[in-house]
Symmetry: C2
Subunit: 455 residues, 2 copies
């Protein structure tokens, strides 16, 4: 962040969190609600997340019927689970009836089966059917993401007819960005952005001003692909079609932005070895348990590295300098590999790295590893020579460095590529596999060369 750019204070400030916490703790409900005042639902959600667990319940009770249902859709999954436990199924149904179907489905999807059933039964029949249908689509699909309210008009209508109908209709979505033009079988044939419709004269037919090259999203499409296309083609909203190609809903950019954030968080967390969603909001015990599975894998791979060292125990016993220097080779390999890995994982997500250029990038990474291998071989070699006054030791670490940096660069690319080819998420366990390789190769090359050259 550069200095000449205006800093902004966030509305959910430390002071606000403290004031609300104090009021709730001392039972001053009216004060707490006054502090919350006219906050946006997203800010109330953030405030709820910032409170300690026991005060979240107090806040939900204080809000009671006044709870803004949008806030439920904005909460982190983990905190939402807690909050939902404080709300009776009938009250929850009242709240959900006010939400878009996609948001209602998102709130419901984490409830256990029995409770979900009770809430669904308490919903008005029309809402119940739509929400149940939304829940029937696979998680992370376009069907889950879409809302069922949209504006569709027949192609033979004029702009004037559309405007008159819009003015009289009372079952429209709260906000929409384009008119979907449909044929008699309700299949989309084009779309008219509202800004274009507003500028057209009344007698103009919508068919004459619509864009026919509209992107359509099958209800089963993965949300990651939906997000990619929204970004690639700068979409603001788009039509969702069923298996017969009929219009059944629309996806809007605000939901796509949430998906982008979600996918990014997933990538970052997976690269960092954190599998759990909502890690920040779990109890210490839960967090420790969730993170330990990853550490267990790491213990296993660390032992493999140790076994590599053990192969050369006699060599180390004779030259203790090897034990001192060996982490340098391993660590440099791990870091160089992580650089390549990070670039590769990201480039796969943005489709900048594909089968079309994989070979070219492979050669490039090999050369990069070679360049930096030679450069750091010279540095580390000179340093080791200076430190232990043994020229041959310098040569050993230099050779091991070149080997490990080339292996690191190539592995950093091939591991995520191989995972992607087999349909796995390239971010999952790529880092740990990589450092296992760079540790084992680093120790083996260094100690092995030492055994050959120095003894």
């Amino acid at each position: 962040m550069s200095d000449d750019i205006l800093p902004v204070s966030y509305v959910v400030s430390t002071d606000l969190v403290r004031d609300v916490s104090d009021a709730l703790r001392e039972g001053r409900t009216a004060d707490a609600l006054a502090f919350i005042g006219e906050l946006h639902a997203a800010d109330i959600a953030d405030l709820t997340e910032a409170l300690p667990s026991e005060l979240r319940d107090a806040l939900v009770h204080a809000l009671g019927r006044e709870l803004d249902p949008e806030m439920l859709a904005e909460l982190d999954d983990q905190v939402r689970d807690e909050v939902l436990e404080q709300i009776e199924p009938e009250m929850l149904a009242t709240h959900l009836a006010e939400l878009d179907t996609d948001d209602a489905a998102e709130v419901l999807e984490d409830l256990d089966v029995d409770e979900r059933k009770r809430v669904l039964e308490a919903l008005p029949p029309a809402d119940r059917e739509l929400v149940a249908e939304a829940l029937s689509y696979p998680e992370s699909s376009a069907g889950r993401l879409m809302q069922r309210d949209y504006v569709a008009v027949p192609e033979y209508w004029t702009v004037g007819q559309v405007i008159d109908w819009l003015r009289d209709s009372d079952s429209l979505p709260e906000e929409f960005y384009e008119l979907f033009v449909v044929d008699p079988r309700h299949k989309p044939v084009g779309a008219v952005p509202l800004s274009r419709a507003m500028r057209a004269k009344r007698p103009v037919r919508v068919a004459d001003i619509m864009s026919a090259k509209q992107k359509l999203f099958p209800v089963e499409m993965d949300q990651e692909e939906v997000a990619f296309q929204f970004e690639q083609y700068d979409l603001t909203s788009a039509a969702v079609v069923d298996v017969d190609g009929r219009l059944i809903g629309q996806i809007t950019i605000d939901d796509v932005v949430d998906v982008i954030e979600e996918e990014h968080e997933e990538d970052l967390h997976r690269l960092g070895g954190v599998n759990a969603e909502g890690d920040l909001f779990h109890s210490a015990g839960q967090t420790a348990r969730r993170r330990s599975s990853w550490l267990l894998v790491n213990l296993f791979t660390a032992v493999i590295a140790s076994i590599t060292i053990a192969l050369f125990a006699d060599t180390i016993e004779q030259i203790v300098a090897l034990a001192i220097l060996m982490p340098i080779v391993a660590s440099m390999g791990g870091n160089a590999g992580t650089q390549t890995l990070t670039v590769a994982v990201r480039a796969l997500a943005t489709k900048e790295l594909t089968s079309a250029n994989a070979w070219r990038i492979f050669w490039k990474e090999t050369v990069v590893g070679g360049y930096n291998g030679v450069f750091f071989a010279i540095l580390a070699g000179a340093l080791s020579y200076a430190w232990f006054n043994q020229p041959l030791l310098g040569i050993v670490i230099a050779l091991a460095m070149i080997v490990n940096l080339v292996v690191a660069g190539v592995s950093g690319l091939l591991i995520p590529l191989a995972m992607w080819r087999t349909g796995m998420d390239p971010a999952i366990s790529a880092a740990i596999l990589l450092t296992t390789i760079t540790d084992v190769v680093g120790f083996f090359a260094f100690l092995g060369l030492a055994k050959i050259i120095l003894l």
Copy 2:
């Protein structure tokens, strides 16, 4: 990605890239252009990126005057630099005149001063002034992000007047999502989403249907904050105001989505120790040089870890098992710390981690480190005892594991928090600082305890 979700083939396929490459290489320009056909500008940009460097030039020459200017705005910075070198300043000016000011400024910002001046001079005077002004705002500010075309109406107008004016005006932005309502001094007083304006009857005054609680963005605001507010409040477009609070432009969601992606990439790359933008598209030499600065820092920190080991050279000489086991303690600490670090960096970016709950999370991380420290102490202790048949060695590694995992958890939180407090990006160099700490503490605790307990 689950199996029951529809896979989608990407339009810039390996086949397309190969066909276009072959055609360009063999000088079959017309064939190459036929393959490109009616591709969206964003896809042409991706195709250009996927081509080997020498064919990119050929493609740009083949496209000539037909080059879609939008494609320039979609290119990766590094590839854009290459492409711009192939275009004469006058031709580039013709292309830029067709772009929104924000996109034109983005294309121009990477040119060197002389060339930028030549292109600016070739622009029509009206465009020149707007683009030069856009370039005068700090990089990554709302001013750079905004476009200068927007729709503003006085508050006393009726919906009918607005519609008539829109139908007659010919200097409107290509697409817009809301009407900004301004007072006589051109200060925004509210906004009307188009979907609401279209549903209102002609005699209704815009002042009566506008939302007065509109978010305004000062021209100097950082783009990261702009993106946060767009996400938080589900905005599609928003007004940008100058220092006097007057409306001067608008930011639209498509540009914000690009910022979100850019910030994501930056976070991920920084955590992975890659500082360079467009790493994938640099030559091997450039990439090696850019990545080496980071590896140099790592070499330095690795040497610090080695010095820690050297302090206990005599201990290792007596018990070679220490050299074999010591990487386990360091590696477990590094991984546990990275887990916390990843969660913390992400939570700071989403404002889920703030001063309001930092202490609570601090205690939680300490407890998590303690839990997993004890768990892995038992595992590693038992394993080491089994391997070397020395009970005391098991106790040493167990104690060192507890120390290092607690330190790792606490450091993984405190390093990014401290950077954030001092206004730095928490992702920069956090990882390397962290692993330096976990390496040094891991080696020191393990070897130090060994010296005390075993000798």
